[in-house]
Symmetry: C2
Subunit: 234 residues, 2 copies
DNA sequence: TCAAAAGTGTTCGCTATACACCCATGG
DNA sequence: CCATGGGTGTATAGCGAACACTTTTGA
């Protein structure tokens, strides 16, 4: 490899490598995804997943965390690799292979992105046409999240520290696109024994107080050890 | 005029992109993985996952299928992307990002690789030290297979067309590293109704004949549709 | 006083699990 | 005739799904 004249030359063709980040949030009502409006060609003016090229001195995951931080100000979020996309013509400029990640952030910790970027939350089933193959990436990410939630308590990554059972149930319904019986859902969660019920209550509707709960990491670890893994059967 | 061999120039640094392929097989007794002995530096003489650089005109998956065919002669196998590995120093020569795949092949269809390659099957828990970060890739692949087998009938991709219940059970035990009660396993499979029992029998031990079964794709599709997905609960 | 939301149980049916029984074969 | 492996059935416990009852609050 030779690096003279600001140029990088190789004996064999090397594709560019980028990351794209599917950032999920939850406003207590709807599952959402963070998109940015592209300021340059190609697809100028279109909405797209936040992303960028992987730098020389960072891993793909580093790059994804950097993107996440730039758009949301969140530095310690749940992040997981989704899949690499390598279709030959997926970027009209040159061959770009993208390693996609999905991230789960607590909406309350997001301090709007840096001023340069035009970022916005979209409800998961109200996203506009996206640039590149980002529609497919988003679709894959939703499926991955849906699968993940069966094996790990990732739902709590999207919720604030303290939440009501209804918020939790609603989140699961949003993710899995199904509806649960309120009472069965509560029974099931209670049996798991991985939530602490707090003394405080809140008033989500003007009707009646609701208890606040918090995730109990220690109890979860014990549950997982005792049952040889974790499974949310719905 | 360019007199060097370095013919591909870019404005920014581009990593090389390769694929590595975790090829699983099953000999009727043990779960196995196909490894190749490296003929060149680095790690010359070490065992490694089959792999190679992604070509200009192929996707990562194309590359993985090509590797699979070169090593096994199998052209239509179950193959799935596992994960991209992008640690900066994972290859001592230059920066190489590897997109790993795992493949499931029926041992009976494998006609030893091409003569150039030194390929060998290893029992899954008897693999030697591997080159690069291939140990970690293999570990991730095993976990992915274990997870996958809960949602898709991928076990049958590893078995011949016709097999005994014991072979099936043994495969599941190998993959999931647990033991099942013979009778409960049979009852569960029978209830699923996704196997055809054939008239033919075989004599796996010198004791008694055992029925041969085959996977019934149609019944599986119906099961999946009726139950809104497939789940093997173990 | 009524509707809406929250908290707590109860019942029923399915299925995972443990385990019993019979049949066939070769030594 | 008995040890080994294969094929089939039964009883129990636990969980998911359906659903009843009570309390609190604002209109």
């Amino acid at each position: 490899m030779n690096t003279s004249n600001d140029n990088y030359t190789y004996q064999y063709p090397h594709p560019a490598v980028a990351t794209d980040c599917v950032i999920f949030g939850y406003d207590g009502n709807r599952l959402q995804v963070l998109l940015v409006e592209r300021g340059i060609e190609p697809f100028k003016g279109s909405w797209a997943l936040p992303g960028g090229f992987v730098r020389e001195n960072e891993t793909a995951e580093d790059g994804a965390r950097r993107e996440l931080f730039e758009e949301t100000g969140v530095s310690h979020a749940y992040i997981k690799q989704l899949k690499a996309y390598s279709a030959i013509e997926r970027d009209p400029r040159e061959r770009v292979i993208s390693i996609a990640f999905f991230a789960l952030v607590k909406s309350c910790e997001v301090k709007g992105g840096d001023d340069a970027s035009q970022a916005r939350w979209f409800n998961i089933d109200e996203v506009p046409q996206l640039a590149f193959d980002h529609q497919a990436i988003l679709q894959d990410a939703i499926e991955a999240l849906r699968r993940e939630i069966h094996f790990e308590p990732v739902g709590f990554e999207l919720l604030p520290e303290r939440f009501t059972i209804r918020e939790l149930q609603n989140l699961y319904e949003q993710v899995l696109k199904v509806e649960f019986d309120r009472r069965n859902f509560f029974n099931k969660i209670r049996r798991l024994g991985i939530l602490n019920r707090l003394k405080e209550t809140t008033r989500p509707t003007p009707k009646k107080d609701a208890y606040l709960f918090e995730f109990n990491q220690k109890a979860y670890n014990e549950f997982k050890a005792k049952h040889n893994g974790f499974r949310m059967e719905f």
